[in-house]
């Protein structure tokens, strides 16, 4: 068993102090990803700094803007009534993460910082144009979630930086979104997943967001599909074209879970079905 030191700072100042004392220390939130990596000796940290007791990190604030504390558990996010009313797709995606046991301790921030191309909430947050706030002892910065993911397991977090919150603008009232995930069984990492947000005015699409998961090194915005939809009158042909573009935009690999070919198929089918569902003509 890997032996490590474990600290539970109560404030960010304490976090920075510990970071100075133990360079190379890793942050741990819910631990549902990290503890597995430690058990498998994928990583072997000497020191863990727990963020669970740091004040101000969990919590959801709904005002002009919406702020979700990074240490908010997935369950707390799902159970937040008002958040669910404003962003049903976020709750829809969050419900597909693991099991109740995982969701009860896993956190929104932790899920994102794990940088898995499969991350379910990442897709929902991408199509909601989420931004994230990153802090270290020297200050903070806010970036689009899109820019946060660099590669599988790799984010743009600098040394000592942690994610403190996720920021969202309330969507337009006409916006509707959907998240679809394919696993080998119901509780599974995604073989492929798709998130779509459409803001329609009659037959015309005013705003479109498309994202795909498990089919690229990072959760991927499908910008070419979005460009196709913007200000377009949505027809069967446009949807077929969107499928083609989506399939060509992704670069899935064949791995233990699925083949690249199959992932291509699923993304195409899900893009079509997601749009049809949102437009009410399934």
């Amino acid at each position: 068993m890997n032996h490590f030191d474990y600290f539970k700072p109560q404030s960010l100042e304490e976090v920075w102090d510990l970071g100075k004392k133990f360079p190379g220390a890793q942050y741990i939130a819910g631990g549902t990803d990290l503890m597995v990596k430690i058990k498998n000796r994928t990583i072997m940290p000497q020191t863990l700094i727990s963020l669970r007791s740091v004040s101000g990190l969990p919590g959801i604030e709904i005002g002009e803007k919406v702020r979700i504390g990074a240490l908010t558990t997935i369950t707390d996010l799902i159970e937040h009534q008002e958040l669910g009313r404003i962003f049903p797709v976020l709750v829809q995606a969050a419900k597909r993460i693991g099991s109740p046991q995982i969701r009860n301790v896993g956190t929104v921030g932790g899920n994102l910082c794990n940088c898995s191309p499969c991350a379910d909430t990442a897709l929902a947050l991408l199509i909601l144009d989420a931004r994230v706030v990153l802090r270290n002892s020297r200050g903070s910065r806010e970036i689009a979630l899109e820019e946060f993911f660099i590669g599988p397991g790799e984010s743009c977090l600098r040394s000592g930086e942690l994610m403190t919150e996720i920021r969202l603008d309330k969507p337009a009232s006409k916006a509707r979104a959907i998240f679809m995930k394919k696993g080998r069984v119901k509780m599974d990492l995604a073989v492929a997943s798709v998130g779509v947000l459409l803001e329609m005015e009659g037959d015309t699409c005013k705003k479109a967001r498309f994202a795909a998961g498990s089919v690229a090194p990072v959760p991927l915005r499908l910008k070419k599909v979005e460009a196709l939809f913007k200000n377009a009158v949505i027809s069967k042909e446009i949807i077929q074209e969107a499928q083609k573009i989506a399939v060509n935009s992704i670069s899935p690999i064949s791995d233990i879970r699925s083949s690249a070919d199959y992932r291509h198929e699923i993304v195409g089918v899900y893009v079509k079905r997601a749009v049809e569902k949102l437009l009410g003509n399934e």
């Binding site: 474990y6 549902t32 503890m35 301790v105």
Partner: protein
């Protein structure tokens, strides 16, 4: 180096010395001698290690022991009543065939308790959602669902 933590276990205050790298399951099964909670995979996939912390079902194989400080934790041992009788949920599993080899049972029952404490009248879909993180290789789950439904009926009065 060991650190002392204090928490409430099955209604009683406990103080136990733990190593920083230990998981809650190590402490429960080790120094606290509560072997009812089982380790089936160590990766949070099978749910055999499920216990309830502050009302929520969690995988004790992924839960750092030091995080137990100040919490209220319930394990399968906490469900028995003082006169050595089984709780309603446990009795329902016994009566409805929800138990075969029994290895998944403590975790399955704890997830059931967490569900019924929050939602006393679950639909079958809600029962499936609540127990999706508890794997069973013996029963095919049908009699487990019947056990949960029976327990819910009895608890409602």
């Amino acid at each position: 180096m060991k650190k002392q933590i204090n928490f409430v276990l099955n209604g009683f205050e406990v103080a136990v010395a733990v190593e920083a790298h230990q998981r809650l399951i190590d402490v429960l099964r080790g120094s606290l001698g509560h072997t009812g909670t089982k380790e089936g995979c160590g990766e949070g996939e099978c749910g055999a290690c499920t216990v309830i912390v502050d009302g929520r079902a969690i995988n004790s194989c992924l839960y750092p022991a030091l995080e137990a400080e100040g919490k209220s934790i319930t394990t399968i041992e906490g469900l028995r009543s003082i006169d050595n009788r089984l709780s309603v949920i446990q009795q329902a599993f016994v009566e409805r065939g929800g138990i075969q080899c029994g290895f998944c049972t403590p975790g399955m029952i704890m997830s059931t308790k967490a569900l019924l404490d929050q939602n006393p009248d679950p639909t079958e879909e809600e029962i499936r959602d609540a127990l999706v993180g508890n794997l069973c290789r013996c029963t095919g789950y049908v009699q487990i669902i019947e056990s949960v439904k029976s327990a819910a009926e009895k608890l409602k009065g």
